[in-house]
């Protein structure tokens, strides 16, 4: 066993733990997230002029003129505005009291260094593990508090995105996430069956057809369904599909004007690229939709075009009715109860979109067990030690890097962790 221990401790992941918080400027987060252009700088100065007249931020948001939507919030005040829109309040004590134990810790761990690795804040070679560990705590605490949702790939991007926009304010990000998911009823977006997401995809399909017939039928002719491309846009709310300096503007729009703007943004994006899209065949199109660097988007223009797309309330309601009236092939999904009230007023979802049953093998309890092999220690087990030092000590925001390292090399801990 001795050799097993030394092997894991030698791994580079353990050697370089650095938990010193970076400054926002250094980490390029918060108001330093990206370089603002002249237009945005001017916009920010105007805001500052208003703010010096002792106008509170919330009234600024309310007086936000519709015609100015495409300008978004100035970067410096963005996080404060977002919080004001959702009226979130955060309490560090409450946050710290949430344990980090959950069934998804392993899945979460696997995604930590694969979330925005190109951004300084999450890049361990530039700034150490600071960003990754904040991300890890939020996701684990969330998975603990909302066991039904747990963790779904894609949540890492949303959380990471918010961490960067907020300037690394972990506690506030957690509160914001909770408020965000509740306000827009996204709880069933991320559950095992992705019921909420299916609903959104279905409505999108209908809206797409009614808006841009030619484009829609090009997609259908090329045999491309929503789950192949737009699923990714919706699931991560654009955070893994658009460059971050565009995503912040889309989020401005969503927060100011409602969640159905996700449809508008996608439709505007398609319309802007219509010429190109119509020339592409199936696989080329799928690749194009997955390559942001080919899009050449300007956020202000995308938002302006998005605002121009009119979604009729009546049509939307009739789509909703149609969705509700569809036969219900699978009863088991009805168990999830909706408790929170929606602001976007999406009705209760009572049917499942896809008539096919999901592959039997992927039901949790039926995952094939193959016991022909001897279990040996898992390299990811090192995580349990980290968890312990963060959550059990009850002071997860003020831990000592040295303690973590000491825990990692303690022989006794390894004995307990060995799986026979």
């Amino acid at each position: 066993m001795g050799s097993t221990n030394s092997r894991i401790i030698k791994s580079p992941a353990v050697k370089t733990i650095d938990l010193s918080p970076p400054s926002n400027f250094q980490a390029k987060i918060g108001q330093y997230l990206y370089e603002q252009n002249d237009l945005e700088k001017k916009h920010q100065r105007r805001w500052e002029k208003y703010l010096t007249k002792n106008q509170p931020l919330s009234s600024m948001i309310h007086s936000f003129k519709e015609s100015k939507f495409h300008k978004g919030f100035p970067q410096k005040y963005r996080w404060e505005c977002w919080k004001a829109v959702l009226k979130t309040s955060s309490n560090i004590k409450d946050y710290m009291s949430i344990p980090m134990t959950n069934d998804y810790a392993h899945d979460i761990y696997k995604d930590l260094d694969r979330t925005f690795p190109e951004h300084k804040y999450f890049n361990k070679s530039e700034l150490g593990y600071y960003g990754q560990i904040a991300l890890k705590r939020i996701l684990n605490k969330f998975a603990h508090k909302y066991g039904k949702i747990g963790y779904c790939q894609g949540m890492n991007f949303i959380t990471g995105f918010l961490l960067m926009v907020s300037g690394g304010k972990e506690v506030e990000v957690f509160a914001f996430l909770e408020a965000f998911y509740i306000k827009y009823t996204l709880e069933d977006f991320y559950t095992e069956d992705m019921k909420g997401l299916k609903h959104f995809l279905w409505i999108f399909d209908k809206t797409f057809e009614s808006k841009f017939c030619k484009l829609y039928w090009h997609f259908k002719n090329e045999d491309i369904s929503e789950d192949m491309w737009v699923l990714k846009f919706f699931l991560t709310i654009f955070t893994s599909t658009f460059p971050i300096e565009i995503t912040v503007f889309i989020w401005d729009l969503i927060l100011l004007d409602g969640f159905e703007n996700i449809y508008r943004v996608v439709l505007a994006f398609l319309k802007m690229n219509q010429e190109k899209i119509l020339k592409l065949s199936t696989f080329e199109l799928l690749q194009f939709l997955n390559s942001p660097y080919q899009w050449h988007l300007v956020p202000q223009i995308l938002l302006k075009k998005s605002r121009k797309i009119r979604l009729s309330r009546d049509k939307r309601d009739s789509f909703e009715r149609e969705y509700k009236s569809m036969p219900c092939p699978s009863v088991e999904y009805l168990e999830v109860k909706k408790e929170t009230k929606s602001v976007v007023s999406s009705p209760k979802i009572t049917v499942q979109l896809v008539t096919e049953e999901p592959p039997v093998l992927f039901h949790k309890n039926k995952v094939a067990t193959y016991n022909g092999y001897r279990q040996i220690i898992n390299p990811f087990i090192v995580e349990s030690t980290l968890d312990k030092s963060f959550s059990d000590s009850g002071r997860d925001d003020s831990f000592n890097a040295e303690d973590v390292l000491n825990n990692l090399v303690s022989e006794n801990d390894w004995d307990n962790l060995y799986i026979r």
Partner: protein, 204 residues
């Protein structure tokens, strides 16, 4: 010469290197911290094999199981599947058998499957004995490859083998009507020129 267009899917636990393998092969790129895949990525490469040429359309899928519940099209018309496990992660190897079962029940009958033991540059941290893996694949009658997306070891060979096996398995369909030339089906020319109906060779 006729080009066969085919869809292949990558399968395997999260973080075993599905995206890295595909990227290494298609673009000869390797990123130590590859971004985790949400739903799927799409990559394509034209492969020349002695018998002809094959356009591999790679559907690089996400590891997390819950995506299978919503994206039911993963296996549809797939001609080949690449199951990846991480030689330093026992769990990922134990999952291989369930992926094979899954393919046998969900995918097309003649789907070509190959298994890749990835990260073989990390031999020191190996948890799965090579003979054990080979024996397992021999029983399942599936080709096994040791690969490393980092060094590129075995990657080219594996995709070549996959391409030629797919070619062999589907050459009967080559030259049939191009009318049902949808994704994953056999076409006789590259997709790029599909709108050029005049060029459609091999049509009845």
């Amino acid at each position: 010469m006729a080009t066969m267009e085919c869809k292949i899917v990558t399968l395997g636990e999260g973080r075993v290197g599905k995206t890295s393998l595909a990227l290494k092969y298609v673009k000869n790129e390797f990123h130590k911290d590859e971004i985790s895949t949400v739903n799927a990525n799409y990559l394509t490469k034209l492969v020349q094999i002695p018998q002809g040429s094959v356009q591999l359309n790679i559907w690089d899928t996400a590891g997390q199981e819950r995506f299978r519940a919503i994206a039911s099209n993963y296996y549809r018309q797939a001609k080949g599947a690449l199951i990846v496990y991480d030689i330093t992660d026992r769990k990922s190897f134990d999952k291989v058998v369930s992926w094979i079962k899954e393919l046998k029940s969900q995918a097309e009958k003649n789907i070509v499957i190959v298994v890749a033991g990835n990260k073989c540059d990390m031999e020191k941290e190996r948890q799965i004995n090579r003979p054990e893996a080979l024996e397992f694949c021999r029983k399942m009658q599936i080709r096994h490859f040791d690969t490393s997306a980092k060094s590129g070891n075995g990657v080219e060979e594996m995709f070549m083998e996959l391409a030629s096996q797919i070619f062999e398995a589907n050459k009967g369909e080559l030259g049939q009507s191009g009318r049902n030339s949808r994704r994953g089906k056999i076409t006789v020319e590259k997709t790029k020129h599909r709108e050029n109906s005049g060029k459609k060779g091999g049509c009845c």
